[in-house]
């Protein structure tokens, strides 16, 4: 049982790491796009704030797994299979540069593995609707409208001031607004992995039911999400920062302010949302709010398709992983086989990604924010 437990906890931390690098864009894409901060500085700041955020809330954030699957039916190998599915989907969407939800990948992976292991009775469908489907529809709209309003207000109020002073102010303020998003991300997402590890320890009888989060779990999860964030998910940053729309400092500020408010207010009032979808909605809203702003709807459509596909795709991967584990000579052997397959797939994607490497140096491509007059986003978007 111990090797199984160790592998599953390590897999949860690996998921936390992918969550961090996949979601660096949430806080820093617009800040990097407008050159409010240098890419490496932005990523380092996001990493530090994710680390702090992971320790901020003492209550265990409502774990993404609770209320979605029946915890009494869940076992360590089932949790492992769900995590493996979520990791593989996260890496695939990262490679494609798609800002999809890591939380939804986690729910999808868990639901898939539980479905394969226990059938439909193991899944709490009302929880899936409440935690994933309804928020996925509402959150980007709420944030998008707020970002649109903020962009219009910013544009209207700064007209008499002059472009340079306005942009200087919004560029500096962006550091604050994006910092809040990074802090909120650390609290939300690191806590989800903490919840999954606690669930694993309870399933393995290493912790009593209802136990709190051990300190070592807090520390390792905080470190994993911070390390992942520091690695910088440059592909997703490029999509969110440059491909959806052309972002000026007032738009970046508006998008991040609307995002941080939506994330923090929704958490405060009792329901959790996907940080990624909120920020994406904010960027779209800010793009629509700028007079003459253009959105590349092809990129948005691709993103929306990925959002819709995340739950079933991660679910299928989680289910496939569980079936491999269940049909192996022993569960431990099955887990090792799935872990080897997952490592091979992730490594193959990693090697392939080096062919067209995106990094701090080329993340903005031709759309450097300090170029004085650029054409609108439509013509900037790569096919």
């Amino acid at each position: 049982m111990l090797p199984l437990l160790v592998i599953t906890v390590a897999t949860a931390l690996a998921f936390d790491y992918t969550n961090g690098f996949h979601d660096t864009a949430n806080a820093m894409a617009t800040t990097i796009a407008t050159r409010a901060l240098r890419p490496q500085t932005a990523v380092a700041m996001a990493s530090a704030l994710n680390l702090v955020g992971a320790f901020l809330s003492v209550t265990v954030a409502a774990t993404i797994a609770s209320g979605v699957v029946d915890q009494l039916r869940i076992t360590v190998p089932v949790i492992f299979a769900g995590l493996a599915g979520a990791i593989v989907w996260n890496v695939i969407t990262w490679y494609r540069g798609i800002p999809s939800s890591s939380s939804h990948a986690l729910v999808g992976g868990m639901v898939g593995s539980v479905l394969a292991a226990e059938g439909t009775a193991g899944v709490i469908w009302s929880g899936v609707a409440a935690k994933v489907l309804v928020p996925a529809l509402l959150a980007p709209i709420v944030c998008g409208v707020a970002a649109l309003v903020a962009t219009r207000v910013a544009d209207r109020l700064t007209r008499p001031v002059g472009r340079d002073d306005a942009r200087t102010s919004f560029r500096k303020s962006q550091i604050l607004s994006s910092g809040l998003v990074a802090l909120a991300h650390g609290t939300n997402d690191a806590q989800k992995t903490m919840g999954v590890i606690v669930l694993t320890l309870i399933a393995a009888n290493r912790l009593p039911a209802g136990a709190g989060v051990p300190t070592w779990v807090k520390v390792t999860c905080a470190a994993a999400v911070a390390l992942g964030t520091f690695s910088g998910g440059w592909r997703v940053i490029r999509t969110l920062g440059t491909k959806i729309t052309h972002i000026e400092p007032e738009q970046g500020f508006s998008a991040e302010t609307a995002s941080s408010t939506t994330i923090l207010a929704s958490a405060f009032f009792g329901f959790s949302l996907s940080t990624t979808q909120i920020v994406s909605g904010g960027v779209i809203g800010a793009g629509l709010g700028r007079p003459g702003g253009v959105i590349d709807w092809k990129v948005v459509r691709r993103m929306a398709l990925a959002w819709g596909a995340t739950l079933p795709a991660a679910g299928l991967m989680g289910a496939a992983a569980e079936l491999i584990v269940a049909t192996a000579p022993s569960r431990t052997v099955g887990v090792i086989v799935v872990a080897a397959i997952a490592v091979a797939v992730v490594s193959a994607i990693g090697i392939r990604s080096r062919r067209d490497s995106v990094n701090a140096g080329n993340v903005l491509g031709e759309t450097a924010a300090d170029e004085p007059e650029r054409p609108p986003a439509k013509s900037l978007v790569a096919a």
Partner: protein, 76 residues
């Protein structure tokens, strides 16, 4: 009817409060930055004391909003 159906899946009251908070900040935050930008502009064209007051007020309003955000994060 729609609201009734929705309320079975999401806390509608909390959601409405989130919308109100988001819209409030969507107006307040850029206004605060615009105030600071106005201060920067006045430094060149008007009184330095008034300009500094504008920048200070804008920065204080932003700090207040950020403080409320951190409070929400800790208190949830």
């Amino acid at each position: 009817m729609t609201v009734l159906a929705l309320s079975t899946y999401v806390p509608v009251a909390g959601m409405l409060k989130t919308v109100v908070a988001a819209l409030f900040v969507a107006v307040a935050a850029p206004s605060a930055v615009a105030l600071a930008a106005g201060g920067l502009h006045r430094r060149r064209t008007g009184s330095v004391a008034v300009a500094t007051a504008f920048v200070g007020l804008g920065a204080a309003a932003l700090a207040l909003l950020a403080g409320a955000g951190v409070y929400a994060l800790i208190q949830r």
